[in-house]
């Protein structure tokens, strides 16, 4: 019997049958896909008509029988449609399977009737020896691949469980009487009447004092109480406690903290903070001393790009120092410090590790730390709500609130994006505002749980400068030189004003005025009202990156080279 006998006609018939069956399979597949997509979009028991009927029933006092009957009918139809559809799908599946079987059977028969003839001669394959060599090489490559894959998996698969267990061990190791060792809380009023952090009390950009100078002349010295040279450059802003002004500066040579007499401008002391690690490479736009210091009234705290965190007393004596690990991020450490008078808060959101930490101001011992999940250059803000204080942090995706006493996450809202440097703002009552370029500005209404997004705005957005909020208005200054005022409750644009230079410094609300300084060193003073009204624009004569400090009718402005005290 010739097993290679060719039967071309039968072969052709089989191929035709296979083609028809394949087309059937294709058509049934498309129909089933369409049906399935339709079914996925269906939600019969949440159908608007049914929900409306249920509302009607809920609103009737006598349990209207007509409405009940309508609901029953609707429910019945929904069930019948659903189960009818299930039957159709099952039938379609069976048809598909039969079609596929026929198709494969016909193809097999076509091969049987038109068999492939034997190939005479040795097939074109590598020789026995070449193949063995190739196999050994490929097998060695496979072994390397498997090892590499294993190592990748071993390091890529991170364990949340391990992190939780590590945290619980750390907490267990903390001394029990830790709270008792903590600093005595500084009265809130005392914190408010000073300028203890970037953007003032709570880091919110709102001055406790309602008046500040509106006219001065740097060139003639009119209205300028003093002007002092800054010993070491840094992008950080001045903080003020009592009659002392504190700042930091750093470069490849070293890390310094310095203090000026607020009345005379005399440099009272300069303290070098010796780094325990090699200084990292940082972006020129950030430098080694971008974070602004903070104070609890008894000590001042400074952090540098090296991750070195130091506490000094007001006379410049080192109280404690620690290294938090060299931050790894593309620009360098940007987040400033904040204290509630008892704890020092550090937002440490870097590439490999993101966390927020609280240290006891007096001893530097960790009070708590909470893991976070996204990088950020933003600074925390401390707000007072009806439910108690909340520490608000921005990152490249979320705004998150923590309990400042325990570090427990209170809520989180996803509404940010891009590389976030601006900090949150607060209307002093119940609305938190956040904004960032490449995302949007959002107003979050506090309600005891996860806040509701009241409105969003996405036209002019800040890149570095933080927004500020009054009770009714919300202000944004951008790196492109725009200043925008929005209605705090609705997000409606009240006014937009374009300036010549961009803003790195954050605007500050002082009474009913907004103070904002552009990169060219021009101070704009405008009314914080729903119509743009400029009060003054004053040239400082040098670039200004820092946010000014306002205290007791004086303004402290850090220029690129000089620190100015405006006032009397």
């Amino acid at each position: 019997m010739n097993e290679f006998k060719q039967r071309p006609v039968l072969g052709l018939i089989a191929q035709s049958v296979a083609l028809v069956a394949a087309l059937l399979v294709l058509v049934v597949s498309v129909l089933l896909i369409a049906d399935h997509v339709r079914l996925l979009q269906m939600d019969p028991l949440n159908d608007p008509t049914l929900l409306e009927l249920r509302d009607q029933l809920a609103n009737t006092t006598d349990g209207s029988e007509a409405v009940v009957e309508q609901i029953r009918t609707y429910d019945f139809y929904a069930r019948r449609a659903f189960f009818g559809n299930q039957e159709q799908r099952r039938a379609g599946g069976a048809l598909l399977l039969v079609g596929a079987l026929v198709c494969f059977a016909a193809l097999k028969l076509s091969k049987h009737w038109k068999p492939r003839l034997p190939t005479v001669g040795k097939p074109d394959t590598p020789s026995h020896w070449e193949m063995n060599n190739l196999f050994r090489q490929l097998m060695a490559g496979t072994a390397v691949f498997l090892v590499a894959l294993s190592l990748f998996l071993a390091f890529a698969v991170q364990s949340d469980l391990a992190m939780v267990l590590e945290q619980s061990v750390e907490q267990a190791e903390m001394p029990a009487p830790h709270v008792a060792q903590a600093s005595l809380p500084v009265p809130a009023e005392e914190l408010k009447s000073n300028w203890p952090a970037l953007r003032g009390p709570g880091g919110l950009g709102v001055a406790h004092f309602t008046s500040a100078p509106v006219s001065w002349d740097v060139e003639s010295g009119d209205g300028v109480l003093w002007k002092s040279e800054i010993p070491v450059f840094g992008f950080n802003s001045p903080i003020v406690w009592g009659n002392r002004v504190f700042m930091s500066g750093a470069d490849e040579e070293g890390q310094e903290v310095f203090c000026f007499d607020a009345d005379t401008g005399e440099e009272l002391w300069l303290k070098t903070i010796v780094s325990t690690v090699e200084l990292p490479e940082v972006s020129e736009d950030t430098g080694h001393a971008a974070p602004t210091m903070a104070t609890d009234g008894t000590r001042v705290f400074a952090i540098f790009a090296s991750g070195e965190l130091a506490a000094l007393d007001l006379d410049g004596n080192l109280v404690w120092q620690k290294n938090l690990g060299v931050p790894e991020n593309p620009y360098g450490m940007g987040s400033s410090l904040l204290s509630d008078g008892q704890r020092l808060f550090v937002q440490y959101d870097h590439e490999e590790l993101q966390k927020v930490m609280a240290f006891d101001c007096a001893t530097g011992k960790p009070a708590w730390q909470t893991a976070r999940h996204h990088i950020s250059w933003s600074t925390p803000a401390l707000i007072e709500t009806e439910a108690g204080p909340q520490l608000i942090l921005n990152d490249e995706e979320n705004v998150t609130a923590y309990d400042p006493a325990t570090g427990k996450q209170l809520w989180t809202v996803t509404c940010l994006g891009g590389e976030v440097a601006p900090s949150p703002a607060f209307n002093g009552k119940d609305i938190v505002f956040v904004a960032n370029e490449y995302a949007q500005a959002s107003a979050l209404k506090l309600n005891g749980g996860t806040p509701e997004i009241l409105w969003q705005y996405d036209e002019y957005l800040p890149e570095i400068s933080s927004p500020v909020a009054g009770s009714n208005l919300f202000f944004i200054s951008t790196s492109a030189g725009d200043m925008i005022c929005l209605d705090a409750a609705t997000g409606d644009v009240k006014w937009e004003q374009e300036f010549d230079d961009g803003f790195s410094s954050s605007p500050v609300l002082v009474g009913d005025r907004i103070y904002s300084i552009d990169l060219g060193g021009i101070v704009y003073i405008m009314e914080a009202t729903d119509e743009y009204k400029e009060i003054a624009r004053i040239e400082m004569g040098e670039a200004v990156y820092a946010t000014p400090a306002f205290m007791d009718n004086r303004i402290y402005i850090r220029g690129e080279e000089y620190l100015y005290c405006i006032g009397k």
Binding site: I33, L40, D43, Q86, T400
Partner: protein
């Protein structure tokens, strides 16, 4: 092992959140493209109808599985194995072998829904070894042992015409192309890895991996989970051009059959008498399972080959030790196979605020009032077990790679074209190409 009960879904719910539903929609679409999506059953649930008349819903009963067919299955298996051996060794007709293959696909696959299955029975046996309290049913034991015994006697006749998984792939192998032989040999490591993983999974109590990822059971049962459906679809479409992809590059039971078949008392031959080395058969096998005659002239000195072999033999313990070390690093990824570890990681992730809200498993766990610490402790213990198991898995894979390197470096004398006893499925394709008849 503790299990946490998932609370019932209220209302007309889709199983999972909105995004999961969307993901499922995409996966569904893909599944349909692979022809067999139509058999997927929907996962929707309606709430029980409410009756104002006071009608009470009858209690739901789960019928006890019937054992009526079990004895019959064993008889059919033995008969099919015997018939396959006869057809392969005596009748030598590809068409008859293929018809028996189709019978097995229909009976063991579509009629008996692909279970009991010899491929999966490896896990039952392993479970019986690891846990003395686990009783391996006699039927399962027969399904495990019979194909191996037949392989010891007559080669892989089970693969040829009895295994439903092999049969469905054989049915769709319309235009098989040859995989380069060296690549084929390299890919043949993966069944060992799969076998090792499946055994580790059973030993650690994380379930029957082979059944969980059985690619064809969804087709046999006319319904399956998405992963099974997609995997099966891929395998069948691939199988049109690369014959028996699952058997060759994944089947863990094939590893055992390969070993037994190498020692087989009798095995299918291409030429019933003496091979005339015409080479007509060489191109007929899509599985690269025909070994050519050894070339008369070696391209290198015998001493060089011997030296290489010596090096590879010395390398064997090194590779095993390397695998042992690297395998130990896989504690974290391997342990994610276990549902308890998955749950503990999820709960820990929720504690860290990594997820928004809970999922259905974590919700069930929290409703159980079990302290997190208890779950964490169990997960830590399991992870340690996976660390130890990972080492042995790594050592096993290192050993396999070493043995394969040695195997290919040993010179074997062959006078004519012969089937490779380990990898030949005895499908009979080559029979008709041999001009030498009995």
């Amino acid at each position: 092992m503790k299990r946490y009960v998932v609370p019932p879904l209220g209302g007309f719910s889709r199983a999972g959140s909105l995004w999961t539903s969307r993901l499922k929609a995409v996966l569904h679409t893909l599944a349909y493209v692979f022809l067999f999506c139509g058999v997927a059953n929907a996962e929707f649930r309606f709430p029980m109808p409410e009756f104002a008349s006071g009608y009470e819903h009858p209690a739901v009963h789960t019928p006890i599985p019937s054992n009526a067919m079990v004895g019959w299955d064993v008889a059919v298996l033995i008969a099919a194995l015997a018939l396959a051996s006869f057809l392969v060794l005596k009748r030598r007709k590809r068409r008859e072998i293929f018809l028996l293959t189709m019978f097995s696909m229909i009976y063991f696959g579509f009629v008996r829904n692909g279970c009991v299955c010899s491929v999966g029975s490896v896990q039952n046996v392993m479970a019986g070894i690891c846990d003395p309290a686990y009783g391996v049913p006699l039927t399962v034991l027969i399904f495990f042992a019979a194909p191996l015994i037949f392989a010891l006697l007559f080669g892989r006749v089970f693969c040829a015409a009895v295994c439903p998984l092999g049969a469905i792939q054989e049915a769709v192998a319309i235009k098989p192309v040859k995989v380069p032989p060296a690549v084929e040999k390299v890919l043949s490591v993966f069944p060992y890895i799969y076998l090792g993983l499946a055994m580790l999974s059973v030993a650690m109590g994380s379930g029957f991996l082979i059944c969980q990822y059985d690619p064809f059971v969804g087709v046999f049962r006319m319904g399956a989970s998405f992963s099974m459906l997609i995997f099966g679809g891929i395998m069948l479409v691939l199988g049109i051009f690369v014959a028996r992809p699952y058997c060759r590059f994944l089947c863990p039971y094939g590893v055992l059959l390969n070993w037994c078949s190498k020692l087989s008392r009798r095995h299918a031959v291409i030429t019933p008498t003496d091979c005339i080395q015409c080479g007509l058969c060489a191109d007929s096998c899509p599985y690269n399972a025909i070994n050519e005659p050894t070339p008369a002239e070696a391209p290198e000195a015998r001493s060089k080959g011997a030296w290489r072999l010596g090096v590879l033999i010395l390398l064997l313990p090194v590779l095993t030790a390397l695998g042992f070390g690297v395998g130990g690093l896989l504690k974290e990824p391997l342990s994610r196979l276990h549902p308890t570890v998955q749950l503990a990681e999820r709960i820990a992730g929720e504690e860290l605020g990594r997820y928004e809200g809970t999922n259905i498993e974590s919700e069930a766990f929290r409703a159980s009032d079990t302290p997190n610490e208890e779950l964490y402790a169990e997960a830590v213990e399991l992870k340690a077990g996976y660390g130890r198991g990972g080492r042995w898995l790594g050592a096993f894979i290192g050993l396999v790679i070493g043995c394969k390197l040695i195997s290919v470096s040993i010179l074997r004398k062959r006078e004519g074209y012969e089937p490779d006893r380990g990898t030949c499925y005895s499908c009979g394709r080559c029979f008709k190409y041999c001009p030498v008849k009995e």
